[in-house]
Amino acid sequence: MAKKAPEIEEYKYGFRDKDVSIFRTERGLTRRVVEEISKMKEEPQWMLDYRLKALEHFYERPMPQWGGDLSGLDFDEIVYYVKPSEKQGRTWDEVPAEIKQTFDKLGIPEAEQKYLAGVSAQYESEVVYHSLKEDLENLGIIFKDTDSALKEHEELFKEYFGTVIPYSDNKFSALNSAVWSGGSFIYVPKGVKTNTPLQAYFRINSENMGQFERTLIIVDEGASVHYVEGCTAPVYTTNSLHSAVVEIIVKKDGYCRYTTIQNWANNVYNLVTKRAVCDANATMEWIDGNIGSKLTMKYPAIILKGEGARGNTISIAIAGKGQVQDAGAKMHHLAPNTSSTIVSKSFSKQGGNVTYRGLVHFGRKADGARANIECDTLILDNESMSDTIPYNEILNDNISLEHEAKVSKVSEEQLFYLMSRGLTEEEATEMIVMGFIEPFTKELPMEYAVEMNRLIKFEMEGSIG
């Protein structure tokens, strides 16, 4: 079936606006840079102290020697803080035209009109646009960018910040703790449930600029929230670094779902630490989609520390030419009758490399705990690679663990079948791929599912030849 492969197109959202930043730190990471960031933000002393301690730890900590190749990452070449505009826009009208234009290209205002209850759109390091609908405010839900939350809800902030992921957790959590900027802060009070997803968009738009957002979500007893973020980043010739930290606390009987689609340009190092802690009968769900980037290392974790707590992670990873996705999930069963499921779907094409790396831990107290792991990989051609590296740690006999792993290729028979109904080879392959990741897409809010399908279509272009 000879067909000319279309040229690999430029990264879809790879447009680049003129730099409108009014302040940026010098390149490289020094004590002075961290002090400057903290000063710019008019932070309390304890936060500066925390940042500096984290910085020390970052210096001391060696680079991880597992997962992907980080040797191309030069910490001295990165700008750690860029403030894009003077003040935070509260309404859409106040947002500077150039930044708005970028958002326009991403379709954000439209999405907001239709679906958003509150928008927290991060442009470069600072949140420039942040609105919260009245009904959420009336419910007592706090949904702010993390910098504002530190100013306006300092006590609440201080109580939880760094409790799930201490700066000393790993080298990149130390880095984030030292230079964090932006991100979302959500507090949902006791018993408050909201069905409307809270949404935020992120975008890196400055060459060599790291994005170190810090997200903290607290779901109080019996409360429920769904947070959604989507990311796109423009193309640059030198490496960019995205290293976020997301901490989530779900209290007794609470529910939290965190949905991410990340579509990074293929020069971005995406090194993210995400972790949630669940009290008794609480539920945490990570819906995690990883597309693009040069290297992604990301393993959303859930600590099931209360009896009957539940954790679900559904993820997809897509690796194309020159891309490495080292992604997976971690579940820590620390209490009786906790349960977890991991569904990982990944596919690689044009020489891409996907690895599922996961950990399921059953502690001594995890009587009656159950875990179910399902990893499926689809390989689209002979140059692409996939690997599955599951770790299980079991310290209790009374548990159940199921693991299913499957690697498949798009079969000649499937293609023949679909093409015999009139679909082109490209359409047929796309349909098989879409079907493969359907367990993920069906969990997405409507407009994200649409965007996801569009991205997959785009990703699939040029894959057949």
Partner: protein, 261 residues
């Protein structure tokens, strides 16, 4: 004359270097139902797959024309859009793709961009065909062929036939594995297609199916060739007497193409 014409001339087909079809001649016109019968391993399914363009089957000689157009020059999907359809003996399972989404894409693949089938029209048509084939409505939202029973897969193939309305359909052992009730329903679907605009090539090795679908022409395949053709009475004689008399008549010892190809 209405409908399309499929002309197969001196078709030779090999799989992995082994010749299975050794010169098949056959013409199917709109309005005609042809049955191809014959024992196992004589090349019937190879003929079906080769017409549709399965990549494993290599045409080494001969031609296939659809209304004068060279089918062998077309990709599989182009053959489908030109009006050919193959109901498969073993349809593939496509996980995550619902039967209805798949059908809508397949219907739209035959239509111009901007002229996609309106959603309501599609749903109405699908519902009515599901009813006609006595298929539970839930099939529309189930993943294509995944977890389907043998009978459900065959019904689904006929559902696709009715939905896609090709000019010429090839049905490869659509009756295999069907109980009598399912066989009746499947036949009902095929008979409903009968019109001046629709030609059909029915491949079977049981006469049973032909009790419900009356062919206009019956062909017997042995050793990779059509060795005998006739009307519906030929099928009846095969049912009553088996294939031995044909072998005797033509002096054939072993009817298969080497071992069970």
């Amino acid at each position: 004359m209405a409908g399309s014409t499929l002309e197969i001339k001196n078709l030779h087909v090999s799989i992995e270097g082994k010749e299975i079809l050794k010169g098949v001649d056959l013409t199917v016109k709109g309005g005609e139902f042809h049955a191809i019968m014959g024992p196992n391993g004589t090349g019937k399914s190879t003929l079906a797959s080769a017409i549709m363009g399965h990549p494993k089957y290599e045409v080494t000689e001969g031609s296939i024309l659809l209304d004068g157009e060279d089918v062998l020059e077309m990709e599989v999907d182009e053959r489908a859009r030109a009006g050919l359809f193959l109901a498969m003996q073993y349809p593939s399972e496509i996980s995550g793709v619902t039967t209805s989404d798949f059908l809508r894409s397949a219907i739209n693949a035959r239509r111009e961009e901007g002229d996609e089938i309106p959603l309501m029209k599609f749903i109405k048509g699908l519902d009515s065909d599901l009813d006609f084939l006595e298929i539970d409505k839930s099939m529309a939202t189930r993943y294509l062929n995944e977890g389907f029973s043998g009978g459900e897969k065959k019904r689904n193939e006929i559902l696709q036939l009715m939905q896609l309305k090709p000019e010429i359909a090839i049905l490869d052992e659509i009756d295999s594995g069907l109980d009598i009730d399912a066989l009746k329903v499947v036949s009902k679907g095929i008979n409903k297609m009968r019109s001046e605009d629709f030609g059909c090539l029915i491949i079977t090795h049981y006469q049973r199916l032909l009790n419900y679908i009356t062919p206009d022409f019956v062909h017997v395949m042995m050793q990779g060739r059509v060795v005998k053709s006739g009307g519906p009475e030929l099928a009846q004689r095969l049912e009553a007497e088996g294939y031995d008399w044909i072998k005797e008549e033509l002096g054939i010892e072993d009817e298969t193409v080497e071992q069970n190809a």
